[in-house]
């Protein structure tokens, strides 16, 4: 074998091995918390078992929260303990942030519209006024912490992954997600969906050890006979859908915070968000009815283009 031939052989061999170094990942999908959850982990036997454990933790927390929520709504007793007390405190924080536009009791109104499961209808103006008054007076209430409870559960499931010494994972509950470590030698790449188009994205970001959540008017909604879109987020002071944005994405340290802020910011105009996200150090992406995209508090830094 000539020297040139053997050199070429080793170069090609080395090049072909580069491709093999990439770790294989596997994504498991399952239904929990009213959405499809996906967990991406390096493909190993140990991780297959871990997926089952993660799902177990999610299911367990979901059951506790659901049971306590149903009981509170049935008895109309809103004194909480344990996990529910923590979640309640979080709710108060977001109510303060939004001047009471956010409320866990906004479900009193959402339920009247038929959320979450339908049948959907638009209550009369008188009825809406009555319900907002009730929320204000803490009378005859219905409660739902769904705006950030899902995020809380994803955080706890991520904690389990960390306890088990997982260095690389992506846990995504219908767009509320945590990117643990990197995917191989690069960061996790996440796209923010455009409200109207499947093949368009508002932004593409690369993230690592951070959470992201999006609230939009396009996932859970119905249309009235007049063609008006009614979606699941309500301003508890007006009883109506906020009209500032169509999509709000927030990057934060925990999924609970990203999740809660995405809903809270949905209820706030841009100038207020710009101030708050500076204080909270949470990058924000906004998209509105006029097809305008706004990036605040360092969102661009995460974009790869």
């Amino acid at each position: 074998m000539s020297k040139l031939f053997s050199t070429a052989f080793y170069i090609i061999l080395a090049l072909s091995l580069v491709g093999c170094g990439e770790e294989k990942y596997q994504t498991e999908r399952f239904y929990n918390m009213g959405t499809f959850v996906s967990l991406t982990l390096p493909k190993t036997k140990k991780n297959k078992k871990l997926t089952i454990d993660v799902r177990g933790r999610i299911q367990e927390l979901e059951n506790i929260i659901k049971k306590a929520t149903d009981k509170a709504n049935e008895d109309k007793q809103f004194c909480f303990e344990g996990i529910m007390n923590d979640l309640h405190e979080t709710g108060i924080k977001y109510a303060e942030l939004t001047d009471e536009r956010f409320s866990i009791y906004a479900y009193t109104i959402a339920k009247e519209y038929g959320f979450h499961e339908g049948p959907y209808r638009v209550p009369s103006e008188t009825r809406i006024k009555q319900l907002t008054k009730n929320i204000n007076n803490l009378y005859d209430l219905q409660m739902d912490m769904g705006a950030y409870a899902k995020g809380y559960i994803v955080d706890k499931a991520t904690d389990l992954l960390k306890e088990k010494n997982v260095k690389s994972a992506m846990l995504n509950a219908g767009g509320d997600l945590y990117a643990l470590g990197k995917k191989g030698d690069r960061k996790w790449r996440v796209a923010i969906k455009h409200p109207d188009f499947h093949d368009k994205f508002l932004s593409i970001i690369d993230i690592e050890n951070i959470a992201l959540a999006t609230s939009g008017d396009y996932e859970r909604f119905f249309k009235t006979d007049e063609g008006e879109r009614i979606f699941h987020i309500f301003d508890s002071t007006t009883g109506k859908n906020p009209q500032y944005h169509r999509s709000v994405s927030v990057i934060a340290d925990t999924v609970e915070e990203a999740d809660g802020l995405a809903t809270s910011f949905f209820l706030m105009p841009i100038d207020e968000i710009a101030k708050k996200c500076l204080e909270l150090k949470t990058p924000v992406l906004l998209y509105n009815k006029d097809d305008e995209t706004t990036k605040l508090c360092g969102w661009e830094k995460f974009e790869n283009n």
Partner: protein, 114 residues
């Protein structure tokens, strides 16, 4: 040292074969899955109509993707969503826990936030 014809042929082959291999794995192979609650079932990407829940749910499948054409869930968002065709794309009907997912070996994004 003298380069023989044989050396050149071997070197060319060694360069071309890996390039050919790399060029022919753009998405890996595309697979369609139907997720029903906790179950995940692969569906062949070929022209077919699938009926579920006594015909309340109807799925149209082609060689490129799939969509819900009938669904009895409130709001009917999944029917309005249209086709699941590209890698990583999901069309979900949350109220009755059904989703169509396209999975590829190599996906453009690791997740989509919505």
């Amino acid at each position: 040292m003298k380069i023989t014809k044989f050396d050149i042929i071997v070197i060319c082959l060694l360069i071309i074969i890996p390039l050919f291999y790399i060029a022919h794995q753009p998405n890996g192979n595309k697979k369609l899955f139907l997720i029903s609650g906790n179950e995940k079932k692969e569906i062949q990407l070929k022209d077919q109509i699938i009926k579920l829940n006594n015909g309340d749910v109807v799925i149209e499948v082609t060689k490129d993707g799939a969509r819900f054409i009938e669904n009895n869930c409130p709001g009917n968002i999944c029917v309005k969503t249209g086709w699941a065709e590209r890698c990583g794309q999901t069309v979900a009907c949350v109220p009755n826990r059904l989703a169509l997912v396209i999975e590829c070996e190599k996906e453009a994004f690791d997740a989509v936030s919505r």
